[in-house]
């Protein structure tokens, strides 16, 4: 763990982007998330850590209402983004997801060309006025996804032909292309090798300048490397939430300490 980097890194702003209050999630009869309240700041990388099945991915999927696509899932409590309740009846989950982008555990580029993969979001949301505009958006997104130089000569090759790490960066570029305000990442590096992981982590740090990034990870080193805030989940409860450096060096709760020292999980 690179403790020096954690200490050096300062949180730029303290503005609250996402505020969750008493969130409960049920999968059928299974109570998956219990009374989670958390405030996630803008322009910050927030890491969710915890053992498998602790509910961190479920909670992440609540933030862009991806759980709506699962029939048996029920969500209670309030989640506010910029003060607006995203579970309000007025909110269209489709529009919400354009604002809250998501990157998945396994790279899932569409069976389309690299260009079309990135252009997909802007096209369905009508972000580009004409072809030249769209070209710009695609190029920008690919640049922010740190993959432009690798793919600029083969934009019309299939996205599925890229390597795993490239595919994941393509998926990040695809999410960035719709200009979201929040970027959710569900274990984005778990299917990648260490080199690709390093590239994606670098990218996440870069993205912090523009977005509020929430990342679920199984790797505590990764949480320590990329995040400013860390939340530790255990058995559906949010056990501890605070500055990453504090969580890893000076945990308050004994469960957190056991987990980060490798005794549970």
């Amino acid at each position: 763990m690179n403790d020096m980097r954690i200490v050096e890194r300062k949180v730029d702003t303290n503005e609250v982007k996402i505020a969750a209050k008493d969130v409960q999630v049920f999968y059928g009869d299974n109570h998956a998330i219990k009374d989670v309240s958390v405030e996630i700041e803008d322009k910050t990388v927030t890491a969710f850590i915890g053992p498998s099945g602790c509910g961190k991915s479920t909670f992440l999927r609540c933030i862009n209402r991806m759980n709506d696509t699962i029939d048996v899932c029920r969500v209670k409590g309030d989640i506010l983004i910029d003060g607006e309740d995203i579970y309000d009846a007025k909110v269209d989950p489709v529009q919400l997801r354009a604002k809250v982008g998501m990157v998945f555990q396994k790279p899932n580029p569409f069976p389309k060309s690299i260009y079309d993969n990135v252009a997909y979001g802007p096209k369905i949301h009508g972000l580009a006025k004409n072809k030249a505009d769209l070209d710009d958006i695609v190029e920008n997104a690919l640049r922010r996804g740190a993959i432009w130089d690798e793919v600029k000569d083969r934009l019309h090759a299939p996205g599925t032909g890229l390597s795993g790490g490239q595919q994941q960066r393509l998926c990040i570029a695809r999410a960035v292309a719709t200009e979201p305000e929040v970027l959710l990442m569900d274990e984005p590096c778990s299917a990648l090798d260490p080199i690709a992981t390093a590239q994606v982590e670098e990218l996440i740090d870069e993205l912090r300048k523009s977005y509020s990034v929430v990342i679920v990870t199984h790797s505590m080193q990764q949480a320590a490397r990329v995040s400013q805030k860390t939340a530790f989940f255990h058995l559906g409860n949010l056990v501890e939430y605070g500055e990453t450096s504090n969580i890893f060096t000076n945990p308050v709760d004994p469960r957190t300490e056991s987990y980060i020292t490798g005794r549970i999980g």
């Binding site: 998945f104 899932n108 569409f110």
Partner: protein, 490 residues
Amino acid sequence: MPFTWLLLILAAIAVVGYQMGRSRALKSAGGDRRVLHSLPVYYGSNVAMWAIVPAAAVLIVWLLAQPFFVNSRVLATLPDTMVSEGSSIGLVMSDVRRVADGLDTAVAQGAMSRDEALSLSTETSDVRERLGDVGVALGSAVSAEVLKGAQLYRTLNATGSTLMTVLVLLIALGGAAYAYSRSTADFRARNNVERGILALLIAAASVAILTTIGILFALLFNTIEFFKLYPAADFFFGTNWAPSFSGRGGASDLGVLPLLWGTFYISFIALLVAVPIGLFSAIYLSEYAGPKVRGIAKPLIEILAGIPTIVYGLFALLTVGPLLVSMFGKETLGWMQGGTAVMTAGLVMGIMLIPFVSSLSDDIINAVPQAMRDGSYGLGATKSETIRQVILPAALPGIVGAILLAASRAIGETMIVVLGAGAAARLSLNPFEAMTTITAKIVSQLTGDADFASPEALVAFALGMTLFVLTLGLNIFALYIVRKYREQYD
């Protein structure tokens, strides 16, 4: 010995061999199963396999070869003069066979003793009358040569059968004994049995391929025969289909174009009905319908595929035809003369094809990974955008395959056409006129008393060959399309 008995004895040898092989292997291991190389079952199976397989192989080859051998021997005894008297070898041989069968029947009924059947002569008795008494009717008086031939035929067949039985049983016993002698603890029975199973699987796979080749050759020879009697150019480019049933050759016009046109027109209308409905229902079922609706609706749609096509034909004849006439007939628009029309058959055939398109497409759409949908929803796409822009393109190769499969079915469909589209071969653009297809005409050319030497009957094989080449081309095209899209979307 009857054939059934031979098979039963073979089976008995296998069963006994199984038990013996199993117990011998166990005994050689001193009763300890762990010392055996394979499970005891494999030793038994190995013996049974050795008992049955070589014997069955010899049996099959013998059954195939014996008729050829007997025929040629009998034929050699017949004087050449008999054959040249305005008939063919086949006719004389069928006479011989009929007399031989008659003698068999007479012996079986006790009207004739075995020796009498062998020594019977045309000079001493009226064979035709004797056989007529036991219910075997012969067309003409039996000549001495034919009777001799028949007697030789019977003798040869009887000897052949006896030889075959003895040989097969010997081979079965020999095979069983050989495998039994090898059933010791060290013997790798499992590997042997598994190799036998592999051979069985390969044989099963080759049956399909060999049958296809056989069908192809049967069609090919008869087609060549047809083109000897009828010019190929007239067949392929003739715009008139008017076979005469009066006599051989001459007045028939056998142009395939009206039939091809009818086939394509009806198939086209059928696909026009089946593809959108099938595809849309597949999209509804796989993407929108809840598990309950899906559980009920999918089997219901698949029931459509199980209805015999003749029932669809009745539906076309009795319901759809009259309905269309009332809509487009003389009283209203005047487009339609009678209930049988391209439209009638096309619509009903389309209904028949819906489950093919929908069921296959549904499976294919379901096979698109959930990650694709998540990715699209995660970008703020709606359900319908996701389906149109991500799921359908990903599923396209499979859907094209499903559609082409449906097209093959449409081209090969017969009963709906016979009942729904009429029998008139004509070239017309009006979908409300009666037309007919290749398959329907194959049926009508071969039903009844078909003389397989006339072009009117042989044309059916040329039509069949045309159909075969068409569907083959369609399948190759389908493969090409699927491969092309797969390159793009995989």
